[in-house]
Symmetry: C2
Subunit: 322 residues, 2 copies
Amino acid sequence: MIFVSDADVRRYVPFEEVLRGVERAFIALHTGASTVFEVVRGRGGGDDHFFAIKSARDGSIPLLGLKAGSYAPSNRTRGLPAHSSTTLLIDDLTGLPIALVEANYLNALRTSAADALAVRALARTDATTLSIIGIGAQAVFEALAVQHVRPIRRILAVSRSEERRRPFMEALRERSDISVEFTDAESAARRADILVTVTPSQTPLVHADWIRPGTHISAMGADDMGKQELDVELIARASLWVDHPEQAVRIGEAQHAFRSGRITLEQLHGCTLGHLLAQPDCYNRSSEDITVFDSSGIAIQDIAAAYVAQRCVVAGRARSEA
Amino acid sequence: MIFVSDADVRRYVPFEEVLRGVERAFIALHTGASTVFEVVRGRGGGDDHFFAIKSARDGSIPLLGLKAGSYAPSNRTRGLPAHSSTTLLIDDLTGLPIALVEANYLNALRTSAADALAVRALARTDATTLSIIGIGAQAVFEALAVQHVRPIRRILAVSRSEERRRPFMEALRERSDISVEFTDAESAARRADILVTVTPSQTPLVHADWIRPGTHISAMGADDMGKQELDVELIARASLWVDHPEQAVRIGEAQHAFRSGRITLEQLHGCTLGHLLAQPDCYNRSSEDITVFDSSGIAIQDIAAAYVAQRCVVAGRARSEA
């Protein structure tokens, strides 16, 4: 049994490795090698503590695994992060536990890795303007992930909170020299080549009419019933891609268009990120298409990222000791 | 984050402490302080690897927690145990992980603790003959748990496997001086004051007509769809008590009588172990009653046992270091 801490992940795990692991995991899900189990949701103590367990079997490694994740926004008043995640990896054949991975930093990497994979597969190759709505802790990872796969030269950022601007800019400046301009949602959406939404919003922040032809949108925020970042009209007009159809229509951005009958589950079965990665020519993008990636976040990402982390950390520790 | 190993549990955790923790947990479930979440079930690699995640919030500690458990019988050919369990405890307020507990030995304690609580509440106080059907690894714990609460003088044991007899007797002899007689299921059932079934059977092993008035039965084996140790007639005739009504009628011994309409979910809501422990006079046993406890195994037992283990191990380590 190996224990991997957040500090280990920061020190030893490159984003590129997580990206490759998550790509392999999405392809394995598409080919049927992997299975995502039901998500368990519950409440903790306090008014605002939501708890979820996401689990899966990744037949391509192979491993079983689960991530226990909590969201307790009042943690901020305690000087603690609102999100906390822990991933347990289990041997696929024997059922014995293999590794426990503190997955706070890693969760940010695995989420932004899915974004990078979707942007790489869907966004125009000449995309230079990235707009980001929501500048919480995850936004910096999204900005870096998009830069990893597209030649971004300008970032337009949107936040209702003045006090978050400085931490966002400082975190970004540490690892990127791209300038940031703060603006409103409409202006950011209208000027975007790539638009990333990364908020806990429960009402649409982006309207269909704001989006130029050829724009790619990654909707990263919706991961629970009631959450919504894009209006239904935008989802219905766009070429929509999801991480997991059943989960997307239940807790992802797609839930609203699905419930109002604008999209069907059958239609989404052909439109998964795994399909796009396994068979890139399954989609012929026209330069006018608006594409949307709906990331609800699935357990195979967690397992793949934790497996990569465990391997990188074991190798890194061995090098440190040598 | 504290890591507790099986060896720690064996060294530092007395059965009596687990018994008290599990009792408190059942009472908290009855009073509504605790919530059991949905069980996740999946398959691992290999033909025979079944995987389950049981999770709950125990509002009486308070803690969130989950147990990942595997059953892979072909492990025996690898020199590994068929069952393996790992429990993660999570802070109820902040969502931060608190302890990871290797729960193989502990699982045996928490399961037999529920049996002891049921026997203490339901069996005649003068019960001296204990019959056990099934003598796998769990059976020794059940024998010791029943002896903990009743003046057992004789054990009748039933096993189809000759080769398991010696390990069972040796394990029992280490901690008890009660003699064991091997016999067949009918003879053991007919002579029992207390009968414990602890098998993975999928067909009834015990028939209603074999059971004398006044006998208590703990059906410990059924914890999945299709498992069955007692015939439906016996369940229908007895005073039936369960750990968790919804889970009992889905995966417990009660599933068969429920599906054939002999018992209802409503009837079980009044007949929980928690109710019996919180309000002992909710049931007035006549000396002729046949009582049955259906243990399907619930997450609050795992959380309570892991919490007890964590406290005992931290205290034990501190004493060792002093």
